[in-house]
Amino acid sequence: MNEIVLFAHPTFGVLATLAALWVFVEALNATDGNRRRSHHAARAGAVLMVFAWVLGGYWYLRWFPAEKALIMRGPWPFAHDFFMETKEHLFFVPLILALYLPIVTAGHMAANRGTRAMALVVSGFIVLNGLAVEGAGAIVNHGAKLALTPSSGG
């Protein structure tokens, strides 16, 4: 069960990032025809990001303390001290932006350049932050893996 939670939270994070990328591309080509589709993608992204938050939070509170102790004894303590610490707080930026994006896409991107610019900025930052958080997660994971590898000195 814990492995399912471990792999589900970055999966939902990736899907939320892809939904934001979808909105970004729709906003670049905003027309009357893709208005509803953009809004649906934004709403899906918000739901997916909340799932990533809840599942990631469950993992972080329930299982991460043991993993943290392991990482700190291994050769890559910075995997926790820098990457995990930054990731766990940076995550709230794409979370808030993902909750905001459907409010923006409820507007008319094809007719209102302000709405379109805001949709581009919000979705773009969700993608950038989402990729950063996913990358940091991979480094945290590698920090734990190295700590369990005898030849690594951990």
Binding site: L28, T86, I96, L97, L99, Y100, I103, R113, R116, A117
Partner: protein, 107 residues
Amino acid sequence: MTPLAPTGESQLSPAASAFGISAIVTILFSTLLAIAQDISPVVHKVLEHLAGHHWTAHGLLDVVLFYLLGMVLWRGGVRRDGMQLAVALSLAATAGGGALALWFLSM
């Protein structure tokens, strides 16, 4: 890329304006709270007391602030130019992410 319509309206809807301002405030608040709980054991304790764990309280406070402030501003009928608010949001997101990275790099 289709160019942004130069003559199109750029005022955001009241909801997008209100929650856009709220998102900016929340991102900056979240960044400051992350740093404050590292600096101050009192802030850390208060957050733990609120929700059992500092991270849980931090996330819940962010979401509550975002919706609460957004609702208040929305009821107030605030409207902003989308281009200007998009620039402000970009600056807030960049400053927030940058500050967090620099803070934890210096720790």
